[in-house]
Amino acid sequence: MSLENNLKEHREKLGVNQQELGALVGVSRQTISQIERGGYSPSVTLALKLAKVCGVTIEDIFWYEEDGEESKA
């Protein structure tokens, strides 16, 4: 099982770069980059902040994928 996300799409809809999104939620550009690449699973607090800034729910950004499952669109 792995944690997947489409944070990059939501960020692009918002019209901000990684640095700007990081500033909005109080983390570094590097952290946003690592989340988008799937290299880091954010804490619940950070996930909630990201969802709030993007104007969506957490489940719209993050989901768990079982091995062999199709990825979310």
Partner: protein, 279 residues
């Protein structure tokens, strides 16, 4: 029912232990045999002339103890300057969007940071070896003072100068890396010359950066454990066969004890104060 479950679990643990114990015993046996053979070999080669370094080798060693710090510092400084300049060039050419460029810059700066710390550690090493060469062997020192006082003073100045040079270079590189990192990440705080720099810099880390530090620290802890084990063996052999005394062994064990104790006590502390973990 609870007691039955407990018994079942105990039996399961015993099965796991039994399975792993055979491999553990085998590794332990091999380690004892290798250690024993190393010890015998060391005693054997001690008597061979190779171990008695020729005057020429000793002279090279003395020269390296005095000049080695300068050489290593200059090499690491040159490499660091190249990486730093590459980073600045890419930074000025960056359009603010390409993530690959930022990741590359941060990688190069990490290497420069590493080299700056290596320079500092080597400076301590060469101060020690230089001081030993200049001041350690009382007969050599007496001979030098009687026959070549000026040369002895110059070498002493070079040894002290080496440490000063290395420390200045190390601080300069760290300052460059920190300030450049602050340009890339404006939320970062602290000046390298601030006595509270470590605390401020750590305070400006976000959760992912702290997570990287935790993982790197755990790997470091394991590496130190293996290193201490190797050094313990080396000191044991040296103590018995090369008469270099028990002090090196004590030094190694102090490091090992501190590492293990701090780790375990912190685990106990966070178990009792879980809210402290998030600070």
């Amino acid at each position: 029912m609870k007691e039955e479950e407990h018994k079942e679990r105990q039996q399961q643990y015993q099965k796991e232990d039994k399975k792993a114990f055979k491999k553990f015993l085998f590794v332990l046996l091999i380690s004892v045999i290798v250690g024993f053979m190393l010890g015998i070999f060391s005693a054997f080669i001690k008597d061979i002339w190779i171990i008695e370094a020729s005057e020429g080798v000793k002279r090279i060693g003395r020269v390296f103890a005095i000049y080695g710090g300068y050489i290593i510092t200059i090499i690491l400084l040159l490499v660091s300057v190249i990486l730093y300049r590459k980073s600045r060039k890419e930074f000025f050419a960056w359009d603010g969007e390409d993530e690959g460029i930022e990741n590359r810059i941060e990688l190069w700066l990490s290497y420069v940071s590493w080299f700056s710390q290596l320079i500092m550690i080597f400076s301590y090493f060469f101060l020690g070896t230089g001081a030993y060469v200049q001041l350690g062997d009382k007969e050599v020192v007496k001979e030098m003072l009687d026959t070549n006082f000026v040369s002895w003073i110059l070498n002493l100045i070079l040894v002290l100068g080496s440490m000063l040079f290395s420390l200045v270079v190390s601080m300069y590189l760290q300052q460059k890396v920190v300030n450049f990192t602050k340009e890339l990440n404006p939320e970062k705080q602290g000046s390298v010359y601030d006595l509270n720099f470590g605390k401020k810099w750590w305070g400006s880390f976000d959760e992912a950066e702290k997570f990287v530090t935790y993982k790197a620290s755990y790997t470091t802890m394991k590496a130190i454990s293996y290193t201490c084990m190797g050094l313990w063996l080396f000191c044991l052999i040296g103590m018995i066969f090369f008469d270099f005394g028990v002090l090196p062994l004590i030094m190694v064990l102090i490091i090992w004890l501190v590492q293990v104790s701090v780790y375990c006590l912190k685990v106990i502390y966070y178990g009792k104060h879980p809210s402290e973990m998030m600070k």
